[in-house]
């Protein structure tokens, strides 16, 4: 009884002890914040990675792929059919993308980007990945058909959780057929003007630093050969979905600026599957953007219909009409053991030609790095709490010395050594609880308002703490995991108790007479 009472009184009268637990509080708060942010990032990243990659992927080792996706999918179904929800073949090939940008001076410039061109089956691809949800037109999210829409592209990021932070994408309002018709009209006018001007000032054209455009010649050749004029106001090329990072950029104020819009044409060169490979070029019309918010994907992947890509690359067997694929994405039932299924598929497909991997395998180094980072941070931060433990130890020794006479009094009144020890252990325990509790509250509040804090700091320093153009997140993602928090709190309390064991034992062993005589 007296243990609790005295412990309570010491807590209330000895502020030095409260100060020594500030380090516990700070350590706990930091650990909670760091773990929450790390967990948030990891979760966000994983869901995006998984969203883009599907659960399992079978890749052909050859870039030119293997024939007959249907037969392969049948084999997969036979082997692990019970756990498979959906499958979709794709053709992946590295490629170069060109598109025109009109600078502020009105001059046209061609931009070249290195990309990965992915041919997808629009009917099944949405089953294996979140791809469909990342598109910018609501109808395309329901079913993508690679046709340019009249209008109605999202001007507000539909994936943003916090609408207050989102800057509207004003450019997207005009995207679609309307934009394409308008642009076509302007281009025709320009062409007409240029045609009338050309005889007068022949050297003016040369000033426009226009890179050599292989497509123009080719397209003109095609048009002439087929004897028909392609009217860009009414027709579109094969549809293409661009990663939003390829032609869009996020400005420092959080708004997005697009260099090209749905309705614009792009050109892509990629190698054929012939031997030796030849570079061929195709024109495509942007029908939508996708935004997975994983920068690596958003600035790298572009999607076209698989059949058109197979035909362009010469992957279709001319006699049977069966196309080749380079990978098959597989979506598993929730809760299925991806690793076990991967191993089964590995034995079903010869390893010389196929690579079977889970999305975790594919992103192994990245995930491992994040995990490693979290672990190292935790170790370092726990060291801080351990250091705080030594602070508690020192201050407890001081308090025991200061309270020597009181300990003697308690013993003269019949308190046992264990009872006296109990006072200081309870004291340490309560200090740990108070410290950890305060740390939890501070950490939790910090996590809860982390974006507001980041904004405030950004305003204060004039430099954004969390730059959305870097991370492609609007907000810092956080997840407070109860298990982690409990673990941190228990650890902090344990350290406080451990630090109080030595002083408490000293108090318990004090000789009552010597303690009473202590001045």
């Amino acid at each position: 009884m007296y243990k609790l009472l005295l412990c309570w009184r010491y807590l209330r009268t000895r502020y030095i002890a409260l100060i020594c637990i500030v380090s516990v509080t700070l350590g706990v708060a930091t650990m909670i914040v760091v773990n929450s942010v790390m967990a948030g990032f990891t979760h966000e990243m994983q869901s995006r990675l998984n969203g883009m990659l599907g659960d399992l992927v079978i890749d052909c080792r050859s870039m030119d792929g293997a024939p007959d996706a249907a037969a392969h999918m049948q084999t997969i179904r036979r082997t692990v059919g019970d756990d498979v929800v959906g499958m979709s073949p794709t053709v992946n090939v590295p490629a170069l993308l060109y598109f025109d940008v009109y600078g502020a001076n009105g001059k046209r410039q061609s931009v070249t980007r290195q990309i990965t061109l992915v041919g997808i089956d629009k009917s099944t691809y949405a089953d294996v990945s979140e791809f469909g949800n990342y598109l910018q037109h609501p109808k395309n999210r329901d079913q993508l058909d690679f046709q340019l829409r009249e209008n109605g592209y999202d001007t507000i990021d539909h994936m943003a959780e916090d609408m207050s932070k989102v800057q509207p994408r004003k450019q997207m309002k005009s995207a679609g057929w309307g934009y394409r018709r308008y642009k076509s009209m302007i281009e025709k006018q320009h062409a007409a003007e240029a045609a009338t001007k050309q005889p007068k000032a022949g050297d003016e054209k040369a000033e426009v630093n226009e890179p050599f455009d292989p497509f123009k010649a080719q397209a003109e050749a095609n048009g002439e050969a087929q004897g028909q004029e392609f009217d860009s106001a009414k027709e579109q090329h094969t549809g293409i979905v661009l990663g939003i990072g390829i032609c869009g950029m996020r400005l420092a104020n959080g708004s997005d600026h697009f260099l090209a819009l749905p309705g614009d044409d792009v050109k892509i060169s990629f190698p054929t599957a012939s031997m030796p490979p030849k570079a061929i070029s195709e024109r495509y019309t942007i029908v939508d953007f996708y935004e997975s918010k994983m920068n690596e994907y958003d600035s790298n992947f572009v999607f076209v219909p698989i059949r058109s890509l197979q035909e362009s690359r010469g992957l279709v067997d001319p006699t049977t009409g069966v196309g080749k694929f380079t990978s098959i994405q597989i979506k598993l039932k929730p809760g299925a053991d991806a690793n076990a299924i991967r191993d089964k598929l590995k034995s079903a497909f010869p390893q010389e030609f196929y690579m079977v991997s889970t999305w975790r395998d594919k992103q192994g180094p990245l995930l491992a790095a994040v995990q490693m980072e979290t672990a190292v941070l935790n170790v370092l931060l726990f060291m801080i709490i351990a250091v705080a433990g030594f602070g508690i130890l020192a201050i407890f020794y001081m308090i025991v010395v200061e309270k020597t006479r009181d300990i003697g009094i308690l013993k003269s009144l019949g308190a046992s050594g264990r009872g006296v020890m109990g006072i200081f252990l309870t004291y340490g325990f309560s200090l740990g609880l108070v410290g950890a509790g305060a740390g939890f509250v501070i950490g939790w509040l910090f996590v809860r308002y982390i974006n507001e804090i980041a904004d405030g700091l950004g305003r204060l320093t004039g430099q954004p703490v969390f730059d959305p153009s870097v991370y492609y997140f609007y907000k810092i993602p956080t997840i407070v995991q109860p298990f982690t928090v409990a673990w941190i709190l228990a650890g902090a309390v344990l350290i406080a108790v451990m630090a109080s064991i030595l002083p408490a034992r000293r108090a318990a062993r004090l000789h009552p007479v010597r303690a009473l005589r202590y001045e």
């Binding site: 009884m1 007296y2 609790l4 009472l5 005295l6 009184r9 010491y10 009268t13 006479r405 009181d406 003697g408 009094i409 308690l410 013993k411 003269s412 009144l413 019949g414 308190a415 046992s416 050594g417 009872g419 000789h511 009552p512 007479v513 009473l516």
Partner: protein
């Protein structure tokens, strides 16, 4: 103090005992440890049953490699209800003797007897219980706990005796008892004061109330008036005398002051580590 002291005490005792639940005046440990020691030959035999006594007590303090002998065969008995003053010069070992009697320390040789049972060699838990329930101790420096109020200081032995739940169950009786004791020593209005807000005399009276909390059989007082002026000291002495007379409380008091010692029933002189008269 109040002339109705005995009556008050008796009443409070009755009300405290009426529950009959918590009083265990002879702990099991004491019953087990039956003494074999018979009084050595040549010991003065006192009238009445011996409440507390010691047999050939030796105690020395180690100062480096040399032992400083403090007690060299102290031998005496205190009978039930007696008020004995132990008088001796400063440094003669009076406090040491009292600590040995109160089982706060262990003698190098000799025995301490309580109701005829040897207590100096009891296990720690039994000695803790003895100090808690059977002995009340008062010190020259008062030794109140500074974090607790006077009222809580008086309750301290009960806090120590009871578990948290046990105390909670009987808190009414204990609090009533503590309040009555504070009234008895005339400090009812100071109950909420911290020791730092009390005068020396008030602190010593609080200490007396605390010593009486669990109705001890023996009161051990180490120079209770040593830090007090004459009139405050007299007040404290009057309280002790009344407790002795009306409550028949056995008191052993240590002092260097013959005037104070004179108020006791009997005076025992200690010099050079022995009882000299």
């Amino acid at each position: 103090m109040s002339s109705s002291l005995a009556k008050t005490l008796a009443e409070s005792a009755r009300s405290f005992d009426s529950t009959g639940s918590e009083v265990d005046y002879e702990p099991a440990a004491l019953r087990i440890a039956r003494p074999s020691a018979k009084p050595a030959s040549g010991v003065p035999v006192l009238a009445g049953p011996a409440r507390l006594g010691c047999r050939e007590l030796f105690k020395s303090y180690q100062k480096g490699s040399v032992g400083i002998p403090v007690l060299q065969g102290v031998h005496f008995d205190v009978s039930d209800g007696e008020f004995v003053a132990i008088i001796g010069a400063s440094g003669s070992g009076k406090s040491t003797l009292l600590h040995l009697l109160g089982t706060l320390d262990k003698p190098d040789a000799g025995e301490v007897l309580f109701d005829g049972n040897r207590i100096d060699n009891l296990p720690a838990t039994s000695r803790d219980l003895l100090r808690n329930r059977h002995f009340g101790m008062i010190f020259q420096a008062y030794h109140l706990l500074p974090e607790l109020t006077a009222f809580e200081n008086v309750l301290a032995p009960a806090y120590i005796y009871e578990s948290t739940l046990g105390y909670w169950a009987k808190r009414k009786q204990y609090r009533q008892r503590a309040m009555e004791l504070l009234e008895l020593v005339g400090l009812a209005d100071r109950a909420k004061h911290k020791p730092s807000e009390l005068s020396g005399g008030e602190m010593q009276r609080t200490a007396i109330a605390r010593a009486l909390m669990l109705k001890p059989e023996v009161l051990l007082a180490d120079e209770p008036t040593g830090n007090l002026d004459r009139s405050t000291g007299d007040q404290v002495m009057k309280t002790l005398c009344e407790l002795n007379e009306k409550q028949n409380l056995t008191i052993i008091m240590v002092t260097h002051d013959p005037l104070i010692a004179g108020q006791a029933d009997r005076t025992v002189q200690i010099a050079e580590g022995r009882i000299v008269g």
